[in-house]
Every structure is written in C-alpha cells, then in structure tokens.
Symmetry: C2
C-alpha cells in the first residue's frame, strides 16, 4: 500500500469551508498544506479542518450543503470536532420541489452480460438456492434440523444447486398481526419467498396455530406483489394430524424438499443482459470517506447499471432524510416525488412514536470516522445513488417494479436493510464500509467496498474493492466505478466468489417489524 507522503485533504465542493484529512493516522498540529493552510492542532484521519475562520452560528459547509452551524468561533486550521457542530433541522417535507430537475436519460450501455439463472417469472437469479419459507419462528428449529440433514445427506446429489437455506425470522406469531404497521413484515416475508435467487420454488413450513397462516403469507405481497400459487405439498403444517411425531414431520419436509432440488438441479446458467440484474446498494460503518470514495464509486457503477438497463435500489430512510431536498427534484415525476415524501413522513412518525428521530442514526464509529452528524452522513450516503432519475419509490418490503433507479425505503440498519432489499428482489448487493464490517447474506452475494486504503489492506480477506485509492489520487471515481461494475458481472455470474461466500459469513435475516410484539 502506497501511503501518500504529502499531507492531503479533500474538499468536496467549491463552496465548502471544510475539508477532510486523508492521511492515515491523521496529521499533527503545525502541518502545512500546499495551499499554505496550517493545522492549529492534530486532526484525525477523515476529520474536518476549517479552511477559513468560521464565525459563531455560521454554517459549516461540506458537499456544498449546510451540515451544521458553528457552536463557537472556529479559527482557520482547527479540527472541527463534532461537539463544535450544531445539528440543523431536517428539511421540511411540505414545500420541496418535485421532479423539477429530472436528469436526462443516460446514454445506453450495450453489450454487457452475465451468466444467470432465468426464472419462469422472468426474473434472473445470481444463485440457485433452495429456500425454505417459514410462516413463524416456531418452526425454525425443525427447519434448521432438516437443512442440516439435507445438506449432509441429499444436497451432494444435486451439484447444480448452490445451497439450501431456511428463511428464519422472528415474526409470524406473538405479534400484533392486525396493527396498521404489520403490513410491512407480512409483505416482506411474502416477497422474500419470491427472491429470484430461489428459482420460483416456494416451499412453506407452517406450525398451524400461528397468526400469520400460509394463506396470508402467500397472498399479501403488497404493491408490486402477486399471490403465490403453490401445490398443497408445498405447504407443510407441523400440526397436521397426519404427522405422528417429529421424525414423521422431518420425513415429509425432506421428501418435498427433494422435489424442489430435482427441479433446481436441472437449471443451468445462461447468458443474460446486464439489464436482468437487480442490485441493492447499502453502506454500513460509514466514515467521512464514504461520501468521497466508496459511495461515489458505487454511484458511478449504479449509473453504469442503469445505463445497461438494470434495476438498482438505494435505501436507508434516515440516511436520505437530511438530503431529501436533493432527491425530490431528481424524481421522474411528481407521483414518484410524493411517494418519496410519503416514506420520509412515515419514518419520521415511526421514530417519533418511539420518542426519537433521524439523528439517532449515527454511531460512535461514524463519529470516530469523522462524521459529525446525520446530515453529513446523509450527504455521503446518497452519493451511492449516482446521477440518474429516481423512477420509482417502494415501501419497505415491496417488490421492485421498474428498471432504473428505485428508492426502496428501508431502515438503515445493515441487517434490516439487507433483508428488506432481498424481499424487494435484490439478487446482488454492493455494500460500502469505512470502519469495516464482515457483513454477508446467504441469499445473495455481497460485494464489499472499503472507503480507505488502510482498511482494505488490513481486511484483505473480507473486502472486495479498495476505493481508498480515490482519496489518495491513485485512481479516479470513474476507474473504481468501472472496476466495480465489471466485478458485479463476475460475481453475478458465479465466476468470482465474494469473501463472505467463501468463508460462509452470513448475517441472519432481520425482517422489519414496526408494529408491537404481543
């Protein structure tokens, strides 16, 4: 790894009055930059230095946006530690311009393909997995037992099947199933079963007395969802009187699982246009570099995907809330803009009922990494969305409906966002991280992009892409974006395995349940 020798800062926008320190380990007091700026004190890596004197209550500008107001006069060359930054109000949702600056369609990008598994419903998977849907957590122990036995005794007979996974969750009973917000987890579980990586082979294990019976799970997909039709053998109910004990349940489930394995095993990867991809974008453990290295590179790759005709989702409500005024103008039409505002308002209300707000999003790690508050974090987060028009907005757990860039509203929690994007149909995820996380999903490959060179170097067997080269000037955003785009095609084709897939590092599903448990 080439550490730049010279003291280096990054100023994102011409109007910014702060820049962030690039150098690993930070820079000491007295450091003099090329332009003559001198540090008055030690500034840690990723943290902000005042480029000019900032008066009390004056705006602090990064990304050309007000990320806060000075709590006291800040001399030029000072470290702008988070306690010096007063959090602005979130933009009011009532008076935002909708679809006023709709980006022109990007030039089409032809000729890029991947090797995918084409499904009967027209979607294309990047993996060929048998997924076992569960109406309720009660059955998870039985499903886990069956999955262990299937993997050991049966799966070796079906070499074209990539794996068998139980779609474990903690929903389905002991919850307020008719509370207004219960629509979210119900449609999430419905649409999860239909993820393209599961080959349209829906197989449901039910207990029999749960609040979410199979009929309801199969029928309530929400907007963009369709009822799921299955044969009766594909719903195994453990309380069914035909079962005489646990071993008879296991036998029935294993038998029916094999019906699906036989069909899945007959599938072959085929060449598909990149337009058949459904890519989810997420960040976790963000730092001040996220918005200048990894996320812009992902945004560039998102534009390439959109140009190639693919579907791309960005998410994380609390991380777009403070940047919403930059997104509503980009919506393809007023209706999409209103849907975006509706999701913001819904989440404001959800957080309010818990006596909190979007500012609860930032973590100690974000702050250590230089992010003063949620506004600064949001400005970096939305860089993932690239520059194309937002063509659709879907509520948490709804199925994606359009090609191009969709805003899929989800919590920002890594595991919850990942689960919700899987429900929306994501077949591959790109995940950026500044602090570092070993995040992975069993249902879809996750490509991890490091924001900093030192993280990428240390976590060499966990990170796929090093976007830190953008900060050091070794590569451009475009170069890393193209590299990522090509890697997406490789991973989607099964030609390249992610580290998470190689080590088997998978986070549990975490279905978003905004309603109470009972």
């Amino acid at each position: 790894m080439n550490q730049p020798l010279k003291p280096l800062t990054i100023k994102v926008h011409p109007t910014d009055n702060v820049a962030i320190v690039v150098n690993s380990g930070g820079l000491p007091a007295g450091t003099v930059f090329n332009d003559g700026l001198t540090l008055r004190e030690h500034v840690p890596q990723g943290h902000k230095v005042a480029l000019v004197e900032i008066a009390l209550d004056a705006p602090i500008l990064r990304y050309g946006e007000v990320i806060g107001y000075a709590m006291k006069p800040i001399p030029q060359g000072s470290w702008i530690e988070e306690s010096l930054v007063r959090l602005p109000e979130a933009p009011p949702l009532e008076s935002l311009p909708l679809a006023t600056k709709v980006p022109a369609p990007l030039p089409p990008l032809e000729g890029y393909t991947f090797e995918g598994y084409r499904n009967a419903d027209g979607t294309v998977g990047t993996k060929n997995l048998l997924a076992i849907t569960q109406t309720v957590q009660c059955v998870a122990g039985v499903v886990d037992y069956v999955v262990r036995r299937l993997k050991a005794e049966v799966l070796p007979k079906y070499p074209n099947v990539d794996g068998i996974i139980g779609l474990n969750h903690i929903y389905g009973c002991g919850v307020a199933i008719n509370a207004p917000a219960a629509v979210v987890p119900i449609r999430t579980l419905h649409n999860l079963a239909l993820n393209p990586n599961f080959g349209n082979e829906v197989f449901v294990i039910s207990l029999g007395c749960e609040k979410l019976p199979p009929e309801r799970l199969l029928n309530e997909g929400g907007a963009g969802g369709v009822p799921i039709k299955v044969v009766s053998d594909d719903v195994v109910c453990l309380q069914d009187e035909r079962f005489t004990g646990f071993q008879s349940m296991v036998e029935a489930i294993m038998k029916q699982a094999e019906v699906h394995l036989v069909r899945l095993n007959q599938r072959q990867r085929e060449t598909c246009p990149a337009a058949d991809l459904i890519v989810g974008l997420q960040c976790g453990g963000s730092d001040a570099f996220s918005g200048v290295t990894a996320n812009p590179a992902v945004g560039y790759a998102a534009d390439l995907l959109v140009r190639a005709g693919a579907a791309v989702m960005f998410s994380e409500v609390t991380e777009v809330r403070d940047a919403i005024h930059l997104l509503t103008p980009r919506c393809a039409n007023e209706e999409v803009g209103k849907a975006l505002l509706r999701e913001m308002a819904w989440y404001d209300d959800y957080l309010g009922r818990g006596e909190t707000n979007r500012a609860a999003n930032t973590t100690p790690g974000n702050k250590k990494g230089g992010l003063a508050n949620i506004v600064e974090k949001a400005m970096g987060s939305i860089a993932k969305s690239g520059t194309s028009a937002i063509v659709d907005v879907i509520a948490p757990g709804e199925k994606i409906r359009r090609k191009g860039l969709t805003y899929a509203a989800t919590p920002a929690s890594d595991f919850v966002c990942g689960t919700q994007q899987l429900a929306s149909g994501m077949t591959l995820q790109v995940f950026t991280t500044g602090r570092g996380t070993p995040y992975g999903l069993e249902a879809a490959p996750v490509i991890k992009v490091a924001t900093r060179r030192d993280l990428a170097a240390r976590w060499h067997d966990l990170m796929e892409v090093d976007a830190g080269t953008i900060a050091t000037g070794e590569e451009t955003i475009e170069e890393v974006g193209w590299k990522l785009f090509k890697l997406i095609l490789e991973v989607a084709s099964g030609r390249k395995k992610t580290w998470a897939d190689q080590w088997g590092l998978f986070n549990a599903l975490a279905v978003f349940n905004p309603a109470p448990v009972t």
Copy 2:
C-alpha cells in the same frame, strides 16, 4: 392412549355457566351427558357448551370470572362459538386491591436436590455452556464461523463442556440506542451474558463502531444487574488495528475461547438443593385445556418449587393483563403490587403506540382450540403461577432478585419470552402447549407439557409430559404436578435429556426491543 368412552365436559368453577368438551374430535348434536344436558349442535373439542340458557348481554362465566358477554341469547346446550362472545374491557389499573390476600407461606419442602454446576456468583447452572456474547449482529457471521470450528476442532478436547453457543441477536446497531425503551434490550443482552448456565465466563465479541459498545453492554444491567468485570482479552473487537484480516480475528477468538473452555471443563456437577433452581414458566399455542390441565399442573409444580425454596418466574404481560385483579391481591406487599401495575401500564402504552391492544394476543390456533378471547386465555395462563405469594416483579430483561414466585414481565411471544427469561437468569423452562410447538432453547433445557392426550400421543418424540390425563380423569393435577417437579430435577441434573436437546431443536434468541430501529 385410553380415550374415555363417555361424553365428558369440564366445568372449572361452581359458578360457571359454561363447560368445555373433553372428547377428542368433539361431540355431536344430541349428545346427552350424565346430568341430562343435551347438545343442540356439534361442539368441537375444547370448545364451550352453555350449561344453562344465557340471555343477551348476560355474562359468560368460566374460571368463576366473566370471560365475555353474550352477543345474542344462547340456549342451553349450544356451542358458544367465539363470535357469540363480546370482549370485556380490561380491568382498570387504578383501583385494584394490592396485597390484600397475600397467601400464607406454603409449608417448606425439604430434601429435594439436583446435580448442578455451581458458579462463583452463587448461582447454579443446569448446563455447562460456553456462550459468546455479541454487542451487535454485525459480528454474528464471524461468531458462527468460529463456533463451527470450535465445535469441530476444539470442543472434543473438553468433554465436560456441554456446548458452545453464540448469543446471536439483531440488536446493537441500527437502533435508537438512546430512545427511552432502549434500556430493555440493553439490559437484556447484559443479563443474558450472565445466565447461570454459562458458568460466569463472559466473553464478548464487538465490531468497534456499533452503538452498543462493550463498555455499555457490560455495565448496564438495570435493576438487579451488576457491572460485569472481564479481562481485556475477553473483549475482542474486530476493528482492532492488531487484526490483519479475517483469519487473524478467528485465531484470536479461538484462542481466547479455549481459555474459557479449559476452565469450564474443570467444573463438575455437584448436589445442590432444589432451592438453587431458577425455573421459567411459559405457554404457547394454548387451547381451552391449558387452563384446566397443563397450566394447573405446572402451577402445582411451581408451588412445590417455591416450597423447596427455588426461584420461579411467570411472565407474558398480555396473558395476565385481563387477570390482573386476581394477581394484585396475591402480591407480597403494596410495593410489589405497584410494580405489577406499572408493568401492565407500560405494556398498555407500548401496544397503544402501535395502535393495538392486549386483544391482539390471541391466535387463530387459540380460537380453534376453544379460547374465545384474551380474557379466557389469560384466566388459563395464570394458572401456571400456582397459589403462592408474588414476592417480586421485574421489568423485561432484569435479573431475578428473589427466591419464590416472581412476575417477570415479558411479551407473550414464545421466543421473546424465552429470551427475556434467560436474561432474567432462568436455568430451566417449563413450556405448556395445547396446539403443539417444537419450541426449544439452546441455553437452557425446556420441558414441554401437552394439554391434551391426543397431542401428547401424536407428538410422542417432542413432548415430555402428558397433562391430558387430568381432563380424562386418569390423573389428578397433584399427580401430574409431582411428576413434573421430579422431572425438573432429573432434567436439571443432566440425567434426562429433553426431546428438544436430543434433536437439537432450538429457537433463535429474540431480544425484546420496544424502541425503533433506525
């Protein structure tokens, strides 16, 4: 299984105007009972028959309590289907008698012991497990990987250790960590680490940027909790700069895990008085028999445990809410009574914020099993508590503080209640079920008690105790209660394995998080 030949009903209390049908499959119209009562229509098993004519709006009485009001005139011998029953209001919390009928201490029961693992903090475990605490779900994939390797490569060297478990959860980040209700999941995770079955060997894996850092998890145990002191090697932070990649993290975790395994392996079971038990009580998939067979038998066993000096917890707020007027008089003093009311009010408010109420508790299976509504369910549920004084009330996730009968407030959701009781220190759980569930916990043995003979017979390799014999008159509540008490001692001693332990049927932990995710 001896099915009684004669038509049989059970009337619980002398003042009841309904009874439930015992016979498997129900009884047909025209059935004549010993006392001359004739069925006007088919009545399913467990469902209520009107013993007398019940006028419009007249109370329907079971357990000597009003479980509802007649929606229309109900002739004698009719099936009281749930739609005929109007739900009463929940008892108001303001004017209930506190500690007015405190039961006299039950006669001590001497001489009962079990073979347990005594811990340095004075608690006694029923298992000898290495548990790996996690601050945040981000690390779960790594922990799972390490647990797989430890089990395969290391555990065989330590035959006295019963197992290694990762305390996986979906909390720790992406949550409103400073919302008022966040105290619940934080103290739950804190106290989980201290469960007596983990031998006081606390070992924490942290990511490094999460909202719930190790210091906070280790320090915030809530009432009854104490700060956890660990050596620095017992907190492994994956973002620590000493790690050069995934494999170096794995190496460090495995090395430190072995330090704990060596110590755990030196432990031996020793004879302990039954007073050293901490038993949790729960029901799931309840039916109309729950309150007349399994739960009263469990209540009898609870009394035996209390007489032997043990700690016993009953829980499930929405299943005691409608019976609260029967519990507040039993509280040992006014302070305990007020704490009980405080927990009820907290949960009323929590449900109200989600636009629902305690009536959301009942499931389709409960209703199929004859329970008309939450009032009838609650009357049956509290039978588990036996007859002793309620000596203490703890909030969700707090550590148990006293011997005798404690009310541990938790949701009624099986997996959430189980997790919260583990956090409160439960070392063995007794779980009753009428509809049937394969529920199990990895951290503590779960003894499952069936409410009906036919369930116990069909699920012969999942249920430990058949309490259906009480309904058929083959055994008394006392007999089944004693049988269960003795089985508790056997299972706690490791001499008898539960079916869930034998098959490895374990539900995931489900930490109660009443606060929003971000």
